[in-house]
């Protein structure tokens, strides 16, 4: 490999090293430490001046205690499972909402598409937090939604939506919808219209052509969209803590509480490391899928 090429490849690796690997090693180290009332609130800390013996001493104090603890208290695995469930369900709901929107955009007249695209991206122009707070205003008992439903006479009592899992689903679907729409839209937009004509020519109705041609060919977009929603939703913290109730159990919330309420950094770090390990599986699957897709498009 020539040096220029090596240099080019080095840049992203340095980036990865600085922004992922180094912080990860630090977190991993903390997760193997013990909690202590000090600053920083864990022990041991590496004393470089003690030299080789210091390092040995340091390493001998690290253990897997915190990971064992995670398996002993059922709060943790329940939180993981519940997060997984919420992430799966909300990814599915996002797909249900996102696919028709992407399909509609891809079939809209050419001159409309930039506008529609703009509308999908527009929410990003305001702060995420503000938008989540806005949903609190919409979903609360005296909120717009309830007022509207009461006004139409559909309900006589306000619905309790805020501080339930329903509100969390609404929040996640709303927040991550663009990540679902955009990849699906880009595959549908690339779809060669003559394929649908060929399907019709060979005896398909419009509907069967959709099932046999459009849907299978949009699969890469659907998969990409699902991963892009599922991965952040799994570790989501802001939405469940603002829109969810006391019974909404998500690992992101547990993590936050360990860090800031209990000040138990080692356990919190262990939770984070396990979460990362859980996320690596779908991320690797996603990468493999992307590679296969690129292979197929060549």
């Amino acid at each position: 490999m020539n040096p220029r090429k090596a240099l080019l490849i080095l840049v992203p690796y340095m980036w990865l090293l600085a922004l992922f690997l180094v912080p990860f090693v630090i977190v991993l180290k903390i997760s193997l430490s013990d909690v202590e009332l000090a600053i920083p609130p864990y022990t041991p800390t590496l004393d470089i001046s003690a030299g080789w013996a210091g390092l040995k001493d340091f390493l001998s104090q690290l253990d897997f205690e915190n990971y064992v603890w995670l398996t002993q208290d059922d709060l943790y695995w329940k939180a993981y499972l519940s997060s997984l469930q919420i992430a799966v369900v909300s990814t599915f709901l996002t797909l249900l909402v996102g696919f028709p929107i992407a399909y509609g955009m891809a079939n809209a007249p050419d001159e409309w598409r930039p506008t529609l695209m703009m509308l999908v991206i527009l929410p990003f122009w305001t702060s995420f937090l503000i938008r989540v707070y806005a949903w609190m205003g919409i979903l609360s008992n005296e909120g717009f939604l309830n007022q509207f439903l009461l006004w139409t006479g559909l309900i006589s009592e306000p619905l309790t939506i805020l501080n339930t899992n329903t509100a969390v689903y609404i929040g996640i679907v709303y927040t991550y919808l663009p990540f679902m729409i955009l990849p699906i839209y880009s595959t549908l937009e690339k779809l060669d219209g003559s394929l649908l004509e060929a399907a019709e020519d060979l005896g398909c109705t419009r509907t069967t052509a959709f099932w046999l041609v459009t849907l299978p060919l949009s699969r890469p977009g659907v998969i990409a969209g699902c991963f892009l929603v599922f991965i952040p939703a799994l570790g989501e913290f802001v939405i469940p803590s603002l829109l969810g109730g006391s019974d909404t159990l998500m690992i992101g919330k547990v993590l936050w509480e360990e860090f800031f309420s209990n000040r138990d950094w080692p356990v919190a770090s262990a939770v984070a490391v396990v979460l990362l390990a859980l996320l690596i599986i779908p991320i690797v699957l996603f990468q493999r899928q992307q590679e296969r897709q690129q292979e197929a498009e060549k």
Binding site: L195, E197, A198, A199, E200, D201, L202, T208, A296, E297
Partner: protein, 383 residues
């Protein structure tokens, strides 16, 4: 097109000359506009069952549009298209006994070669073994048995074209539309496939409408050729008549190589022949007009290069003799085309078969030669 073909035996396939024959497809004053652009312009034509109807014309003249109207993807802006006597304007593509091979192939990228071919058969809910047998037959026909399990992106352009052909043939439709079906094939495979197509046509009785840019192909396979220009059919005729008796300069120029000479007609005494005065101080060209031409009409004399004889000696007792100098020779293997410049500057092309090896050729550059042709060899065109 207008006058009946010379009387031929009853075995010759020419339903268009038989007034009792009912056409399979009728275009009745069909116009197709995209916005204010007219792609098909008031077109009326009949296509008969078992015909091999070839559409020939420059890019953008409306060939694909015509096919798409037959397949049902476009509806005529004006006029009617009848299939078997009934208007098919409102019949959706999946209900027409018509299959189309797309110019872009439109193969399903997520399906294998054999799944692509089976696609239409599955829609007909045929039994599995019947589908498999038919797919096998089609694969054999296009010589792709080895590639049955590959996806379209794993095969070459020519192979893709053959898959598209097989897929459109699989359902054995009443009418098959082929939009440049053989363009990406090499010469040998193309010739093979052409004969294959003709054989399929004979055995199944399918009617073919085929778009091609290859005149030789149109000449080989077609029962009739339609030469199109700007959404109109300029001439619809059998291949030999299109070639021998084009009805306009456009057709003569579009099909094959031709020498064109413009001039003014004057009536000639001998059996309807006329003289064309084409240059000051030059003897007029004697030719046979297709229709009677009035004195003084501007007209174009068209003659194919292979009908122009070339010799070193002055031909005795011939009409239409010219002398010139060879300025270019195009050697095409079996034939050579000589570009001969006559003293007034015009260049005539003459073609001869290369019956001898190239080094024994009779003529070479800068040779003074004589050109001549018979009085019936060319046509006189007024359009």
């Amino acid at each position: 097109m207008s006058e009946p073909a010379p009387s031929t035996g009853p075995s010759v396939f020419a339903p268009w000359n038989d007034p009792a024959e009912r056409p399979l497809i009728q275009f009745q004053n069909v116009t197709k506009r995209f916005g204010d652009f007219t792609a098909i312009d008031n077109l009326t034509v009949d296509i008969y069952a078992r015909e091999f109807f070839a559409l020939l014309g420059p890019s953008g003249c409306g060939k694909t549009t015509l096919m798409r109207m037959l397949a049902g993807f476009e509806t005529p802006t004006e006029g009617y298209i009848l299939l078997d006597g009934s208007d098919i304007g409102s019949v959706p593509p999946n209900r027409r006994a018509v299959n189309m091979m797309f110019q872009s192939y439109a193969l399903f990228p997520h399906l294998t070669v054999s799944e692509n071919i089976a696609f239409g058969l599955k829609r007909d809910k045929l039994p599995k073994d019947q589908i498999a047998a038919r797919v096998d037959e089609m694969l054999r026909l296009v010589q792709l048995q080895k590639f049955a399990g590959r996806k379209p992106h794993q095969i070459s352009g020519g192979q893709r074209q053959r898959v598209a052909l097989a897929r459109s043939l699989a359902k054995a439709p009443k009418l098959l539309l082929l939009d440049e079906p053989l363009g990406a094939l090499d010469k040998k495979l193309r010739t093979d496939t052409q004969f294959e197509l003709m054989e399929i046509q004979e055995t199944t009785g399918t009617t073919f409408v085929i778009v091609t840019h290859d005149q030789e192909e149109a000449m080989t396979v077609a029962s009739r050729v339609a030469v199109m220009d700007h959404g109109k059919m300029v001439q619809v005729d059998t291949p030999d008549r299109i070639y021998e008796t084009p009805n306009s300069v456009y057709v003569a120029d579009f099909i094959g190589d031709v020498n064109l000479v413009e001039g003014t007609a004057s009536a000639h005494h001998r059996d309807g022949k006329i003289e064309i005065h084409w240059a000051e101080g030059k003897p007029p060209i004697v030719g046979t007009p297709m229709q009677p031409i009035a004195d003084g009409t501007r007209c174009t004399f068209a003659i194919r290069p292979e009908k122009v004889h070339i010799s070193k000696e002055h031909p005795e007792g011939k009409s239409n003799i010219m002398q010139g100098k060879i300025i270019d020779i195009a050697y095409l293997g079996n034939i050579s085309t000589y570009h001969v410049q006559i003293p007034t500057g015009e260049i005539f092309k003459a073609q001869t078969a290369n019956t001898r090896r190239i080094e024994r050729r009779k003529f070479t550059w800068d040779d003074e030669v004589w050109l001549w042709w018979s009085e019936t060899a060319g046509v006189v065109l007024t359009g």
